[in-house]
């Protein structure tokens, strides 16, 4: 017996957009307001999970053809890489640095390596979350 999900899917299309935006927002606002790589990643991940729930594995996989294990792995590499980078500058492991850089359009922005670190964290969280959900759902 097929069950249609028209209402759900229609709403979710919008909602997922909100969720993903919120995720990105949380990711960037982390340094000064609640949020950060972790929560951002979790929210983004749960947005993707919502997609999986409302659609199905195949459909979503066509739209997002990533190997989420590798996304997670890439995240870990990014986090550890940004941490280990300090070693080459003879600074203690994990030392963060920041610069103020003036972009052509955006004006002066505060850039920190913490952001790379946080991005690594977020990617890992997304990757892992989706990997777990996907692996279980694919099990027969």
């Amino acid at each position: 017996m097929k069950i249609n999900d028209v209402i759900l899917r229609t709403v979710v299309r919008g909602v997922v957009f909100i969720i993903l935006t919120l995720g990105v927002y949380l990711f960037f606002s982390g340094h000064n307001a609640p949020g950060g790589g972790f929560i951002g990643g979790l929210v983004l991940g749960s947005g993707i999970v919502l997609l999986y729930i409302t659609y199905d594995l195949e459909t979503v996989h066509k739209r997002m053809p990533f190997d989420f294990k590798k996304v997670a792995g890439f995240g870990v590499l990014l986090a550890t890489g940004s941490a280990i980078g300090a070693i080459f500058f003879d600074a203690p492991f994990l030392s963060q640095t920041d610069v103020y850089y003036t972009f052509p359009v955006l004006g002066e922005k505060h850039l920190t390596t913490v952001t790379i670190f946080e991005a690594g964290v977020a990617l890992t969280v997304i990757g892992t979350l989706v990997t777990i959900i996907l692996s279980i759902s694919e099990d027969e």
Binding site: V76, I84, A91
Partner: protein, 492 residues
């Protein structure tokens, strides 16, 4: 600041993640993982010598001075253990190359091993109690996966128990951490030591210390070892060997660190309890080893006996005893790894795990048999093999401090160790063989290589005890005088 200190943790992690991307290239995975471990071995050997010349090293992550940031502290004790762990892992990897099989290798076996060793090394090196928890978790998560890797019926069943018990243990760790933070309001181990000393380790702090004792006992298999025999006998042989040699030792390390650095003051209470627990562990371990009818049971209970024996050293608490405990710890790591590799190989060549159902293995595999004989003697503490120095020094310490009951139990236990392992040797290795030489299952060369290397290290640790003495003595000295550690962390 010394960035070398973080390498034993970070290199395996990065390599492990890279290996995840190289999933299909098995040969490449093997080479990279082995190179990584050798690299870490070299690094830690380097560090060990640096500690001797420059004193205790520390690395404040991001440059935040203790007690505010997290830091790694390398003293002789921790780096000795890192070194031993790295060496053992390299050898075990050699064994794994020829035995683990491509099914496992494609399922990220090497990454998980590397994660495990990263967690282990992190636990040894960290100077922050909450970070210790996190490192434990890295190690544990990797171990959960490794126990269950393979998906056999028995394996899943035992790993479920293993995971659940460890989840509860981690929970208790968190409880203890909460209480610790609630009392001393800091997380840096050296800083905790200072504050505990300031408060004179009052009753409440002692209670917290006892909580930590329970937590680490669960990890170390001190008194609370119930989970150990089941879960250590199900995973693939290499994993068993790694577990037996590394995991409980991390718990032991944590116990020693906790009760020499952070809570050394109320020894009447804490060390008495440790002593009682170690005694019961020894008795129970001996009974288990005596009752064992299959090789895995005997081997796993020997792990428990080893734990009890080492912790006698802590319970006694004199410098000699701690020196002995460190020696014995190193010995036990090497010997238990070898023992489990051998036991696994016995199962492989005979297809049997019940002692009485096999015989005459030594006729087809003489070298294999003699290496078993060697490790048996080493575990029984026969000189000049590796177990001897530790046993002598722990015994000396116990005599000095008058702990005769523990002394008697400890020495009696080595007879049981010998007896139980001798039973395997006589029944399984000696006797008539039923399989002719030509029809035997060949033992892979890599496995032999691992055996021989481990056996050589057991012999050289025993014979060359002097070359280790300077490090071990320094380690014990630091343990006995926590102010050295504290000053190194909090000053300068």
């Amino acid at each position: 600041m010394n960035n070398l200190l973080v390498l034993p943790l970070i290199i395996p992690i990065i390599t492990a993640v890279i290996l995840v991307f190289l999933r299909e290239q098995i040969v490449l995975q093997r080479i990279i993982s082995l190179i990584t471990m050798i690299f870490i071995t070299i690094i830690s050997a380097l560090l060990l010598n640096m500690v001797q010349t420059e004193g205790i090293m520390r690395l404040d992550f991001s440059g935040w001075l203790p007690p505010f940031g997290i830091l790694f502290v390398g003293d002789s004790f921790s780096i000795l253990l890192v070194l031993t762990a790295s060496i053992i892992t390299s050898f075990c990897l050699l064994y794994a190359f020829s035995t683990i099989g491509s099914r496992h290798e494609k399922m990220f076996f090497y990454p998980f091993v590397l994660f495990l060793i990263a967690g282990v090394n992190g636990s040894f090196l960290t100077g922050d109690i909450f970070n210790l928890f996190v490192c434990f978790e890295v190690m544990l998560l990797a171990s959960y996966v490794l126990v269950a890797l393979g998906g056999k019926k028995r394996q899943l069943r035992e790993s479920l128990k293993y995971v659940l018990i460890n989840v509860v243990a981690s929970w208790m760790f968190l409880i203890a951490l909460a209480f610790l933070y609630g009392t001393v309001k800091t997380l840096n181990m050296a800083h905790i030591a200072v504050r505990v000393a300031e408060a004179g380790q009052d009753p409440l702090l002692t209670t917290v210390a006892i909580l930590f004792l329970i937590v680490f006992s669960l990890k170390a298999g001190l008194l609370l070892f119930f989970w150990l025999p089941g879960s250590y006998s199900v995973p693939p042989t290499v994993v068993q060997a790694l577990f037996a040699s590394l995991l409980t030792k991390v718990g032991i390390y944590a116990l020693i660190r906790t009760f020499t650095l952070m809570f050394p003051l109320n020894q009447d209470v804490t060390h008495t309890i440790i002593g009682v627990m170690a005694g019961i562990t020894l008795i129970a371990g001996c009974m288990g080893a005596l009752s064992g009818r299959d090789i895995y049971t005997i081997a796993t209970y020997n792990v428990i006996i080893g734990v009890g024996f080492i912790l006698i050293g802590l319970a006694v608490g004199t410098e000699t005893a701690l020196t002995g405990a460190i020696y014995y710890l190193i010995h036990d790591m090497l010997a238990k790894a070898l023992l489990f590799l051998l036991v696994g190989m016995v199962f492989y060549v005979s297809g049997e795990s019940v002692v009485k159902k096999m015989s005459g293995i030594i006729q087809n595999y003489p070298l294999f048999g003699w290496i078993y004989f060697l490790v048996m003697l080493a575990l029984a503490g026969i000189p000049p093999l590796s177990g001897f120095m530790g046993k002598v020094l722990i015994g000396q310490g116990a005599i000095e401090s008058g702990s005769y009951v523990l002394l008697a139990l400890g020495f009696a236990s080595s007879i049981i160790v010998l007896y139980s392992l001798l039973r395997i040797f006589l029944a399984s290795f000696f006797g008539e063989t039923t399989i002719s030489y030509d029809f035997r299952k060949p033992i892979p060369k890599g496995a032999y290589l691992a055996f021989v290397l481990l056996a050589l290290s057991i012999v050289s640790v025993g014979v060359g005890a002097e070359s280790l003495a300077v490090y071990v003595k320094d380690a014990a000295n630091t343990l006995m005088n926590p102010s050295i550690y504290i000053d190194a962390v909090l000053k300068g």
